[in-house]
């Protein structure tokens, strides 16, 4: 039993590694070509290794601005969308209320709508309301399509989960906020985190909806799309690679912090035992 178990684990592990490698194949190319000593404006043929693009990644000021915009927009829209979406998911799964089925369907609709329609329709709204298209409208658009993704992801986490722990907490006198912070949130945290990550990635990468509502603000994908017409500069590869590394480092840091906190909490919990008093909850 144990041997087949281990064999199964190995098989799954190999499959997973292969799947992840597959996901990264084009990324390797992107990273590789950031070191290409390209001639002319195009970057398709390998001409040799060079560091020069890495030496001056922000030499193109428009590209740097575009990237900065994308990151800011992603940060803001992710926070808003994750908050709004998580609460919606909670409402839809935990509570029965009139119109729940309809709301369920409604939340799906943005996902069922082609991006071209979403973008164009939203632009129509902004125009009639005399709203300047630019940074803010991009954020609004991104929150709009991200809410649905967050709801769906968090719902998948919530469904089938023990819903009575919250009732139990409230019966024991915990207020609504306390219940949410100390009972609900920790349990759904993985789902919320996944949703947030997905929302951020979608925001950074969005082209179609953004192009309709960007006005004269440039985002990273918009810059690249404009540039593909005349040749994507290697600086794009450099920045894309850099972005990947930054995210990797941020999350590695997060893991370290979590582990340190875990160790600290374990130490704190162990103190009473050491001191000889009964451990308190």
């Amino acid at each position: 039993m144990k041997r087949t178990d281990r064999a199964r684990t190995w098989a799954l592990g190999i499959w997973s590694t292969a799947a992840l490698l597959y996901l990264f194949i084009p990324i390797f190319i992107v990273v590789l070509f950031s070191f290409n000593n390209n001639k002319g404006r195009f970057n398709f043929t390998w001409h040799g290794f060079t560091w020069r693009h890495w030496a001056h990644p922000f030499s193109n000021p428009d590209l740097a601005t575009a990237l900065k915009n994308s990151l800011e927009i992603a940060a803001i829209s992710t926070v808003i969308a994750t908050a709004l979406g998580t609460f919606m998911a909670l409402a839809l799964v935990r509570y029965g209320f009139r119109g729940r089925g309809a709301t369920d369907m409604f939340v799906f609709l943005p996902l069922a709508t082609p991006e071209v329609v979403l973008g164009a329709a939203l632009l129509a709204l902004f125009l009639t309301l005399n709203v300047n298209t630019g940074f803010v409208t991009i954020v609004i658009a991104h929150v709009m399509f991200n809410i649905s993704y967050v709801v769906v992801t968090v719902k998948a986490r919530l469904e089938g989960m023990d819903q009575y722990i919250e009732e139990a907490a409230m019966d024991l006198g915990a207020g609504v906020w306390a219940t949410f912070w100390r009972v609900t949130l920790p349990v759904i945290a993985p789902g919320v985190a996944s949703a947030a990550l997905l929302a951020a990635a979608l925001s950074v990468d969005d082209y179609v909806i953004t192009s309709f509502n960007a006005g004269q603000t440039l985002t990273f994908p918009l810059f690249i799309f404009g540039a593909t017409r005349q040749g994507v500069p290697p600086e794009v590869n450099v920045l894309a690679t850099g972005l990947l590394f930054v995210v990797l480092i941020l999350l590695a840091l997060n893991v370290v912090v979590q582990r340190a906190r875990g160790r600290r909490e374990a130490a704190v919990a162990a103190v009473p035992a050491v001191v000889g008093a009964p451990a308190n909850a």
């Binding site: 009639t128 005399n130 017409r229 005349q230």
Partner: protein, 399 residues
């Protein structure tokens, strides 16, 4: 973009001049559309009839000299050496806001159409658009005339572009850059010499050919192949040319229809022979020296992107000063060296011969006179004919 007065409102926003909500509603009311605040939205988005104003813009303009100030210049990406903008600001004062938001002519027209049709400024003082859009703007009276007294360097315009079918006296347009639509070849894959448009239909290259999805380019070349002058072709002849392309697509001869994105495939040898733009090939050759640009013996299409003053441009004098500036051969040489398309300014080749002889002798950037004779501008079609042509081509390209 998707709607009648949407784009209009966008542009009003972009140009920064504050049109209050009240003013907007007043306009709606005047147009008899205001039904109530809640339905203003729906009404506004549904019932406004756009108009091509039908009036011809006055061909005479007088734009007095004023301080340059802050003005907006819309162009295609990677179409200027940015240091030119800096030196312009330094020389004349003021500050040019340079926006690279033109990626496709029809897409751009969709953005500004509503505003134009409502007679409002579009938030840009100068734009650069290709011939067929330029023609439409002139026809519909959506552009201001250029005050030539502010552009003395106008005399440097190359002879073959001094007149054009939609703007015979060049009152409304001034070429920015030209380019040729010809044939790009990957000589590593294609061993024999390519000389003719017929080569695109050679069955030996089946599945290795690409055409541009823009019918002005693709149908134009086919017309040349058929011995018809594309600049004066009728819609009927153009439609037949498109049908020929459709045939080739169905038989698998044509692998893809592209915008500028034939570049990857051609470089990698997935495409062996492509309808391509001259300017792209100059850069692609640096990446892959096996690539070649061929001016077909029947002739090639010549496209020109033109500087124009959109209606109600707020800083026409600034725009004209820029036009004059880029027609100084020294400045034009700088731009040509960066952009690698065909400069419309005389004297540029001589300047580049001195320090960049390779560029100066590149026939893609400075086509010799016998080639120039065989370069044909796009036909000037009515809006209805153009729409029909584009729709017919869209059927072929699958979209």
């Amino acid at each position: 973009m998707p709607h009648d007065d949407l784009d209009g409102i966008v542009e009003r926003m972009l140009d920064g001049s504050e049109h209050s909500r009240r003013q907007f509603i007043r306009h709606l009311a005047a147009a008899g559309l205001l039904v109530g605040p809640g339905s203003a939205f729906l009404a506004a988005c549904g019932g406004v009839k756009g108009e091509s104003s039908g009036k011809k813009a006055s061909a005479v303009a007088h734009h007095p000299k004023v301080p340059i100030g802050n003005w907006t210049f819309s162009n295609w990406p990677l179409y200027i050496d940015k240091s030119v903008l800096k030196s312009f600001d330094k020389k004349y004062g003021g500050h040019v806001k340079y926006v690279e938001d033109i990626n496709d002519n029809f897409e751009f027209f969709g953005k500004i159409r509503q505003q134009l049709q409502a007679g409002k400024p579009i938030g840009r003082d100068m734009i650069v658009v290709t011939d067929y859009l330029a023609g439409r703007l002139v026809r519909d009276g959506f552009v201001e005339a250029i005050d030539k007294s502010n552009v003395p360097n106008f005399k440097n315009l190359v002879p073959n572009l001094q007149t054009i079918n939609y703007d015979p006296k060049r009152n409304f347009s001034l070429p920015w850059q030209s380019g040729a639509t010809g044939i790009g070849v990957n000589t590593a894959k294609v061993k024999r010499k390519i000389t003719s448009i017929k080569d695109l239909f050679d069955p030996a290259f089946k599945g290795r050919v690409s055409f541009l999805s823009e019918p002005y380019d693709s149908a134009g070349l086919v017309l040349l192949m058929q011995g018809i002058d594309p600049t004066h072709a009728t819609l009927d002849q153009i439609n037949k040319a498109i049908d020929k392309i459709a045939e080739a697509q169905k038989s698998g001869q044509i692998r893809r229809f592209t915008g500028n994105d034939y570049s990857t495939d051609l470089t990698k040898g997935n495409l062996w022979i492509a309808v391509a733009y001259s300017g792209d090939l100059v850069q692609l050759q640096a990446d892959n020296p096996h690539l070649e640009f061929v001016y077909p013996e029947e002739g090639a299409m010549l496209f020109t992107d033109n500087m124009m003053l959109p209606q109600k441009s707020q800083h026409p004098y600034a725009a004209e000063t820029m036009m004059n500036y880029v027609y100084d051969p020294q400045v034009a040489a700088k731009i040509a060296a960066y952009v690698n398309y065909i400069s419309p300014v005389q004297g540029v080749k001589e300047i580049l011969l001195k320090n960049q002889p390779k560029l100066a002798n590149n026939p893609l950037i400075f086509p010799p006179p016998d080639i120039v004779k065989k370069l044909h501008p796009y036909p000037s079609l009515s809006s209805a004919d153009e729409r029909e042509m584009e729709a017919r081509m869209a059927q072929v390209t699958g979209a």
